[in-house]
Amino acid sequence: MKVLALHPEKCTGCLRCELACSYMQTGLFQPSKSVIRVSPFEGYTSYAPYTCTQCAEGWCMTACPVGAIQINVAGAKDVMDDTCVGCKLCTIACPFGTMFYDGDTQKAYKCNLCGGAPACASACPTEAITFEEAETADWIGDFAAERAGRVLAVEAR
């Protein structure tokens, strides 16, 4: 399956992915509505994007009481808007913090790989986000551990 591969060492923190994602997901150029989120590390000197891994368990999907989350043609777990009631159970079931809730529509939403042509990957100018055939993975854990480790060492002094 093609997945979103994240390469944090190439991320410049430009937030184009968040703009593209929010537009695709909600029709608004509004980073707060993006389901890919760029986080700063080491005092805003480096950045990494973070989004749904399309995990095997699909915690959001199995938790939905009305079957509103299904696997789409791209293999992504996708929220069916007309079925979702907005109960937020998926937001506590997902252990990755990658379920979102749109207060305007009162529905849950999440990364659905844009149905197979992810806007974040197209918008990224540095190939920090690529859409490729791969096993899903913890793309940014090692990067974050290294950057955060230095900060924690300073804090502990």
């Binding site: 707060s32 990494a48 990755f96 207060g103 480790g149 924690l152």
Partner: protein, 450 residues
């Protein structure tokens, strides 16, 4: 002969078991087994009844398996029937119409029911529970714009319907016998934030208030209290607790705790003490993931996981269950409130922080380097509230070692995200599946190959 599965109870646990049995058969290519469902009600989701009450979904939206779907799933559905007597030795179940059903294995998933506090007048007209679809319909019929509604009980169930009552234009007063709201879901500090938020949003809250009687006066309900002025209401909702539906198992030989009020004893495969009889959901005394203790977790996610594990085992797999994580989330007037795991624990090391002006709160409970519980609250429109909710679940569920981060989190319990990412919690969680295989899309039953 085909294996005969009997599912007693058409709620979340029962329906998840049925779906999983059919999934396993499709994945393995095994012949379809014989499934009988006995359910007192048509299968629907209690979790979405508040949205029916609020008027954002229609009645048809609450059903989890319509008759046509059950037919397509090849389930023999005995709806409107109640189980009366289980004979494990003969492997038969007797129903309330005296019919008997034979089985090779059986799932006990009869759930729980609302239980009214023993208050004089609580059985009178205009005093309702909100648990079943029929009860929801009564409440829908009883509320009009401007109605005065009094909710007795300030627990999770009460709070799930709070938005819906306000959306119908009613004036709401919540009364709670204990000194604070949400006593079994969040700690004192968080309860204080939620109570202040509710009062700011026009909901009256009376804590430490014991209702002594409910009288019918001029077509309205008059509630008297041990202390303080009486209240008048058009409609009273009793959200004063639930109890297990297990009376029918008396004398069956199925081992239960506290005469059934404490649930059916089960092992790590959700098997009871009787061969080929399982229990799941609100009636199962299953394993607590964090403490390992056997207890009833009457929450939707536990019913789902229990049901799926039993379904897989009934289909011939050997699936052990790690245990369920106690967790709840409720949104009240656009404030998200959630808790995970052992959030009330005198032996834990506790880091908490409050941003009073923003109604934001985080509480982290540690045993050594392991996060064993958490409480979170914050405005629903803040995207970081939702993100932190999930990450706190992941940290508690995975039990990842946060030793290196404790100093940082002690200073700033809000800074959950970098700790989650840098401790490689994602790589700990990715291999985790409940059934030891990738989950399937919850496809409509008619797509299931039989």
């Amino acid at each position: 002969m085909m294996v005969r599965h009997l599912i007693v109870g058409g709620g979340t646990a029962g329906l998840n078991a049925i779906r999983t049995i059919r999934e396993e058969e499709r994945l393995s290519g095994a012949a379809g087994s014989d499934i009988t469902l006995v359910s007192a009600e048509r299968p629907y989701s209690r979790m979405v009844l508040p949205y029916y009450l609020g008027g954002t979904i229609s009645e048809s939206h609450v059903y989890t398996a319509q008759p046509a779907a059950l037919t397509a799933w090849n389930v023999k559905a005995l709806l409107g029937r109640k189980a009366r007597k289980l004979d494990p030795a003969a492997r038969t179940l007797t129903l309330d119409d005296a019919a008997t059903v034979e089985f090779d294995d059986c799932l006990i998933a009869t759930g729980s029911r609302a239980s009214k506090a023993p208050i004089a007048g609580a059985d009178g007209p205009g005093v309702h529970c909100f648990w079943t679809l029929d009860e929801a319909k009564e409440v829908v019929a009883g509320i009009a714009p401007g109605s005065r509604v009094v909710m007795v009980g300030a627990g999770f169930i009460a709070f799930t319907i709070l938005n819906a009552i306000l959306a119908r234009g009613a004036k709401l007063t919540i009364v709670e016998v204990l000194p604070r709201i949400l006593p079994r879901m969040v700690d004192d500090a968080c309860a204080g934030i939620v109570q202040a938020w509710l009062q700011d949003h026009g909901v009256a809250v009376r804590t430490g208030a014991t209702v002594t009687k409910i009288e019918q006066v001029g077509g309205k309900r008059k509630l008297s209290f041990k202390k303080g002025e009486p209240l008048t209401a058009d409609l009273v909702i009793m959200a004063t607790g639930i109890r297990t539906n297990l009376e029918w198992l008396k004398d069956s030989g199925i081992e239960m705790a506290a005469d059934g009020t404490g649930g059916v004893m089960v092992d790590d495969h959700l098997r009871t003490n009787v061969t080929s009889v399982y229990a799941a959901g609100d009636v199962a005394r299953g394993r607590n993931l964090i403490t390992g203790a056997a207890e009833v977790h009457a929450i939707e996610p536990t019913a789902q996981e229990h049901g799926r594990v039993v379904g897989a085992n009934m289909a011939g797999r050997d699936v052990a269950y790690r245990g369920s994580l106690l967790m709840n989330i409720v949104e009240v007037a656009h404030l998200d409130v959630a808790s995970f795991g052992q959030w009330e624990d005198a032996k834990a090391e506790v880091y908490a922080a409050l941003r009073a002006g923003r109604s934001e709160y985080r509480k982290l409970l540690f045993h050594g380097g392991r996060l064993t519980g958490a409480v979170i609250c914050g405005p629903a429109e803040a995207v970081w509230t939702t993100n932190d909710v999930g990450m706190l679940k992941g940290l508690v569920y995975s039990g990842v070692d946060l030793s290196a981060w404790k100093g940082h989190l002690k200073k700033n319990p809000f800074d959950v995200k970098p700790a989650f990412i840098a401790t490689r919690t994602t790589s700990r969680l990715l291999p985790e599946t409940i059934l030891g295989r990738p989950s399937q899309s919850p496809e409509l039953p008619h797509t299931v190959a039989l």
